[in-house]
C-alpha cells in the first residue's frame, strides 16, 4: 500500500549524501544542481503517488502508519522511526516537495558561481529531508528530529556566507531561539507523556495513540500546561511573539533559502504541529485563546514593522511573520483547516515573492557589479522602475502581491478571508472575537499597504540608481523565471480548491479533505462552544466585503504615498519621528532581549566564573590547602631544635596522660 512512503524523505537524504560527500569532487554545477533537484523532485513524484492513493481511499481510511525501524525503546518509553500519512501530512508533503522542487531548480540559476555550490545543495536536500520527517513523523520524537533538523539546516543555510559576521550572528540567533522553542516542545511532550502514562498507563508519544486516548485528557489543567509548552515550541519555530526576532535576521541567508525555509515550509512547522495535535490543543480553551491572541498580535505587530523597512527581503520577512500570525490566529480560533489552507496558499505566494525578490536582487547585484558600484543590492531605495527590465519577475511578483493583499479571485483572498471570518464567527472566544477580527483586519490593511509599497518602490517609478547601472539590468534566466511562473500561477489559482461554501461555486475540497483530521477537535471543541451567534450569510458577505475594502484602502495609501506623491513618506516620518524610529528599529525588541536576557546571561556567566568558580569554590579548595599549610608552618616552628623544649614536650605528654588516667 503506502509502504513506499519512506522514500519521500529518503531521496533528499541520498541527494544530501551524494552532494555532501562527493560534491567537492564533482565540481560541475550542473550535475550537482541536477542531483539536488532530482532528489527532491523524485520525492515530489512519490508524494503525488501518495496523494493519489489517499484520494482513492475513503475519508475514514485515510490514515496510514509505517514503522521503518525501531528507534528508542527503553522501559515504558517507545519511539520508532515511524511515518504517519494522513490528509494533513499529504498537504504538507505536497507543499514541501512541490515548492521545494521549484526552489531547487531556481537555486541552480541563483547560486551559479557561488563558492560552495555543492554545499548549498547538500544543505537544501538535508533540509527537505528534515522537513519531510517533521511532517511525516508518526510520533512526536520523529517530528522532533525533523523539528530540530530543520533548525539545523536553517542554521547552516543562514550561515552560508559564514565569513560575514552578521550571517554567523543571525544563524546562531535563529538556532538558539529555536532551541528556546524546542525546550517548550520537550516539556510539553514530557507533560503529555507523563500524564497519560502515570494516570492511565498509556505511555506513548505516538500521534495516533494519543489521538485514541485523547478522550481521557481533561479540559484545561494539565493540558493547558502541555499545550502552552508546545505553543512555545511553535512560537520559536514559526517566529511568533515573543520569539520572532530571528526570522528577519535570517534573511542573511541566500534568497532561495528565505523562500523555502523562512517562508514556505519550516516556519509553518509550528502551525502544522498545532494542526497535528489539534485534538489536544482544543481541549484547552486557555491555550486556544493564547494562540489566537498571540497570532493576531504578531500579525499586526510584524505588519507595522514591515511598513518601515527598506531592505526588500526584510519587508518580506516581516510579512512572513505577520502572515504566520494569521495562521496562528486561525489555529487559535479553531479554524484548523483555514490555517492549513493559508499555510498552503502562503507557501505559494510568499515563495513566489521571495524568489521574485531574489530575481531582483540577482539582477541588481549583477548590474551593480558591472557598474562597479558597491551599493546595497537589496535596498529598495536603490531600485525603482524594474518592471520594464524584468517583466516576468514583475508580473509574477504582482500576482503574488495581489494574492497576499487579499484581493478577491487570488489565492490569498480565500484563505485570509476564511481566517478573518472564523476569527469573527468562531464559537470559542466570546467577545474576544471582535478584537481578534479587528486586529486581523487592520493587519490585513497594513499588509496590503507594505506589499504595495514594496511593489511600487521596486518596480514602478524611475530607477533611482546610477544610470550606468540601469542598462545592465536584465531579466533573469529561465531557470529562475520558470519557478516564478509556476508559483505565480499557483498563487493565482491555488485558492480555488478551498473556496468558501458561501460562494458556492466550487465545493470546499480542501476543507473536506482535512475533515477527518480535524473532526475530532471540533467534536471536543463543542464542549465549550457557544453556537449560532454570528453565523448569518449576510454577515459573512458583509465582512468579506469589508476585508476587501480594507485591502483596497491599504493599496490606495501605498499608491498615494509611493507613486503619486513621493514626498509623503518623508513628511510622514518627519511628523512622527519617534514613531518612525521605533517602527524602523523593530520596536527595539532585539535591544530589549539583549538587555533582558543576553547581557545578563553573559555577565552572570562572568560572575559565576570569575566570582564564584574561581573565588568561592576554588577559594575554598585552595583555602583548605592554605589552612593546612598554615598549620604546617606553625607546627614547624614548634620544632625549635632545642633539647629542653623537646624534653618539655615529653614531660608534658607524660603529665597529661598520668593526670588524666591516674587522678581521674
Amino acid at each position: 500500500m503506502l509502504d513506499y512512503v519512506w522514500l519521500i524523505p529518503f531521496f533528499p537524504l541520498v541527494g544530501f549524501l551524494i552532494n555532501g560527500l562527493l560534491g567537492k569532487k564533482i565540481k560541475n554545477e550542473a550535475v550537482i544542481g541536477a542531483i539536488g533537484t532530482l532528489a527532491i523532485f523524485s520525492s515530489f513524484i512519490v508524494s503525488c503517488m501518495v496523494l493519489l492513493e489517499m484520494i482513492g481511499l475513503s475519508p475514514e481510511n485515510r490514515v496510514f502508519e509505517k514503522v521503518v525501524f525501531p528507534w528508542i525503546h527503553s522501559g515504558n518509553f517507545k519511539a520508532d522511526m515511524a511515518f504517519l500519512v494522513d490528509p494533513l501530512s499529504c498537504v504538507m508533503i505536497m507543499v514541501v516537495t512541490g515548492v521545494g522542487s521549484l526552489i531547487h531548480l531556481y537555486s541552480i540559476g541563483y547560486m551559479h558561481g557561488e563558492e560552495g555550490f555543492y554545499r548549498f545543495f547538500a544543505y537544501l536536500n538535508l533540509f527537505c529531508m528534515s522537513m519531510l520527517l517533521l511532517v511525516l513523523g508518526g510520533n512526536m520524537l520523529v517530528m522532533f528530529i525533523g523539528w530540530e533538523g530543520v533548525g539545523l539546516c536553517s542554521y547552516l543555510l543562514i550561515g552560508y556566507y559564514f565569513h560575514k559576521k552578521s550571517a554567523g550572528d543571525a544563524a546562531k540567533k535563529a538556532f538558539v531561539m529555536n532551541r528556546v522553542g524546542d525546550f517548550g516542545f520537550l516539556i510539553g511532550l514530557f507533560t503529555l507523556y507523563w500524564w497519560l502514562g502515570s494516570n492511565h498507563n498509556i505511555w506513548t508519544i505516538n500521534f495516533t495513540e494519543i489521538k485514541a486516548a485523547s478522550h481521557l485528557l481533561p479540559y484545561g489543567g494539565v493540558v493547558t500546561i502541555a499545550t502552552l509548552c508546545f505553543f512555545v515550541g511553535a512560537t520559536g519555530k514559526s517566529a511568533q511573539i515573543p520569539l520572532f526576532t530571528w526570522l528577519p535576521d535570517a534573511m542573511e541567508g541566500p534568497t532561495p533559502v528565505s523562500a523555502l525555509i523562512h517562508a514556505a515550509t519550516m516556519v509553518t512547522a509550528g502551525v502544522y504541529m498545532i494542526g497535528r495535535m489539534s485534538f489536544v490543543f482544543i481541549k484547552s480553551p486557555e491555550t486556544m485563546m493564547v494562540i489566537a491572541v498571540v497570532g493576531a498580535a504578531t500579525a499586526i505587530f510584524a505588519a507595522t514593522i514591515g511598513t518601515a523597512q527598506n531592505d526588500i527581503k526584510r519587508v518580506l520577512a516581516y510579512s512572513t511573520v505577520s502572515q504566520l500570525g494569521f495562521m496562528f490566529l486561525a489555529m487559535g480560533v479553531g479554524a484548523f483547516g483555514a490555517g492549513i489552507f493559508h499555510l498552503m496558499t502562503h507557501a505559494f505566494f510568499k515563495a513566489c515573492l521571495f524568489l521574485g525578490s531574489g530575481s531582483v536582487i540577482h539582477a541588481m547585484h549583477h548590474a551593480l557589479h558591472k557598474g562597479h558600484l558597491h551599493d546595497d543590492a537589496q535596498d529598495m531605495r536603490n531600485m525603482g522602475g524594474l518592471r520594464k527590465a524584468m517583466p516576468i519577475t514583475f508580473l509574477t511578483f504582482l500576482v503574488s502581491t495581489i494574492a497576499i493583499s487579499g484581493i478577491p479571485g487570488f489565492s490569498g483572498f480565500f484563505s485570509k478571508d476564511e481566517i478573518l471570518w472564523q476569527a469573527f464567527a468562531n464559537p470559542y472566544h466570546g467577545n474576544l472575537n471582535y478584537f481578534l477580527w479587528a486586529t486581523g483586519a487592520i493587519a490585513a490593511c497594513f499588509t496590503a499597504f507594505y506589499m504595495f509599497r514594496l511593489v511600487f518602490m521596486t518596480f514602478f517609478g524611475e530607477c533611482r540608481i546610477n544610470s550606468k547601472v540601469k542598462e545592465h539590468l536584465h531579466e533573469s534566466p529561465l531557470v529562475i523565471t520558470i519557478p516564478l511562473m509556476v508559483l505565480g500561477f499557483l498563487a493565482l489559482i491555488g485558492g480555488y480548491i478551498g473556496m468558501p461554501k458561501l460562494m458556492g461555486m466550487l465545493p470546499n475540497y480542501f476543507e473536506h479533505w482535512l475533515d477527518p483530521v480535524f473532526e475530532l477537535a471540533t467534536e471536543y471543541g463543542a464542549a465549550y462552544a457557544h453556537h449560532g451567534e454570528h453565523s448569518s450569510h449576510a454577515l459573512e458577505w458583509g465582512l468579506m466585503f469589508g476585508s476587501v475594502v480594507i485591502a483596497v484602502i491599504g493599496i490606495g495609501i501605498a499608491a498615494t504615498m509611493y507613486t503619486k506623491n513621493s514626498t509623503l513618506p518623508k513628511r510622514f516620518t518627519d511628523a512622527f519621528p519617534s514613531l518612525h524610529r521605533a517602527v524602523y528599529n523593530k520596536w527595539y525588541i532585539d535591544e530589549l532581549y539583549d538587555f533582558a536576557f543576553v547581557n545578563p546571561c553573559k555577565s552572570f556567566g562572568q560572575f559565576l566564573w570569575k566570582g564564584f568558580d574561581v573565588l568561592v569554590i576554588d577559594g575554598v579548595v585552595n583555602g583548605v590547602a592554605g589552612v593546612v599549610m598554615g598549620f604546617s608552618g606553625i607546627f614547624r616552628y614548634m620544632q625549635s631544635g632545642l633539647i629542653s623544649n623537646y624534653a618539655w614536650s615529653m614531660a608534658f605528654g607524660v603529665v597529661v596522660m598520668l593526670g588524666y588516667y591516674v587522678f581521674k
Binding site: M629, S649, M650, V654, V662
Partner: protein, 485 residues
Amino acid sequence: MDMIIIPAVNFTPILPEIFLSVLAMVLLLINVFVPGDRKAYLGYLSFFGIVATGVLVGAGWGGHIESFSGSVVLDNFATFFKMIFLVAAGLAVLISDQYMEREQCNHGELYPLILFCVVGMMLMASGTDLMTIFLGLEVMSVSLYVLAGFNRSNKKSNEAGLKYFLLGAFSTGFLLYGMALTYGATGTTRIAKIAATVGQMTLPSTNIMLVAGMLLMLTGFAFKVAAAPFHMWTPDVYEGAPTPMTAFMSAGPKAAGFAAALRIFLVALPTLQVEWSQVFWILAVLTMTVGNITALRQDNIKRMLAYSSIAHAGYALVGFAAGNPTGTAGILFYMLSYAFMNIGAFAIIILVGKKGEANGNVQDFAGFGVKHPVLAVAMSIFLFSLAGMPPTAGFIGKFYLFSGAIQKGYIWLAIIGVLNSAASVYYYLRVMVYMYMKDSTEEFDWMQVTAPMALCVAISVAGSLIPGIVPSIILQFAQQAIKLI
C-alpha cells in the same frame, strides 16, 4: 645446696642473637686489620652474616620455644619482627659503604654497631620479661646513639647523636619507672605472669600503680616509635644522622618499639585495653597529623621523610589502638613494607646527594626523572608506597591498619587517618613534581650506582611492590605471627 646447679638452658631461641653478636665482635677485631679504603669488605661480611642470620631465623618459623625461664621466647611473632630487623639492617648495610666513603667517615665500627643494634632489637622482639625487653632496648639505643653521631666530624651528626642520647636517656627513665611500677603492681616482670596477675584483678583500671606503670611504659615506647608528643627528636636526629643510619633508624628501631610494645600491651595488659586503646587513639591522631602536616613544608628531603616517618608511626598506632588481629597484623605487615619503601627512598637520596650532605633538598631532584629514569621510577614507587597508593605494599598495610580500626569501631580514627593520608600525598607528590615536571638544573653526572646500591634499590622495589599485588605472601605470616601472642 652445696652444688651449683646450672639450669639447662635452651639457647635455640637466641641463636640468631648469639650468632650476630659473635659476628659483630669478630668484625670489630678484624676491623683493625682492614685498611681504610677496604672497609666495604666489612660491609659485605656483615651483609652475608645478616643473610645467614635470616636463614637461621627463618628456620625457626612455626616453633614455640621458651627459654631462660620464660624470659625469652622463640615464636612466630618474634621471628617475623626479627626478619624485619634483618631486612632493615641488611638494606642499611648495603647503602652504607658508598655514603660513608663519600662523607669520609668510613670507620669499620659501623657494621658491628649495626649488628649489635640488631641484636638489641631482636631481644626486644623475643623478650618475654620486662627485663629482657629493657636490656634489648638499651642495647639497641646505645648503639643507635653512636650510629646517629657516627660522623664525628660533621656538626649535624654530632648534634643528632647528642640530642638522641639525652632525650633517649630521658625517655628510658620513664620507661624504666613504668616497668618498676608495673613490677610493683603485679609482683613480677614476666610478661605471662603479669598477664595472669592482672587478669585476676577485679578492676585493674583502678589500680593506680598499674595504670601509671602502663602509661609510663607507653611513654617510653612512644618515644622509640616517635609518636607525638614524644616525637620531637625525630626530625632533628634523622636529619643529622648519616643517611644510611637514618634509613635504618626509621625502619628498625621503630619496628622494635612496636614489637616490644605489642608484646607488653597485648599479652601482659589485655585487660587494660580500654585504657591504652584510648591513649593510642589520641596518640595516633596527634602523631599522624603532626607528622603529615609538618612534612608539607619541608624542603630537606631527609627531614621531610623524618616527618613522614612520624606520620607512619601514627598509622601504625591506628592499628595498635584497634588492638585486634586485623590491626596488629597490619602493624607487622606495615613495618616490613615500611622498611623496604623507606630505606629504598633513602638509598635514592644517598645517590642523589653530594659530599657533606649536600644536594639533599627536594629541589635538587629537579630533572632526575629524565636523567635517571630507572632510579626515578624506583623512587616513585617508594613514594607512592609511602603515600599508600595501590598497588603497593604501603596501600595494603594502611588498608589493614585502618580496617583494624574500623572493625574495632573507631570509624573516626580511620577517617582522620585517611584524610591524613590524603594530605601526605602532597609532599610525596612534590618530590615527583621535581623529579619529572621541572627542568633539570643538574646533569647528575657525578652519580654512580654501585652494585650494593643497585641491589638495595632492587630489593626495595620488589619489597614495596610485590606485597602490594600479592599481599598474601606476607600477610599470612603476619597473621600467624599475631596469632601466637
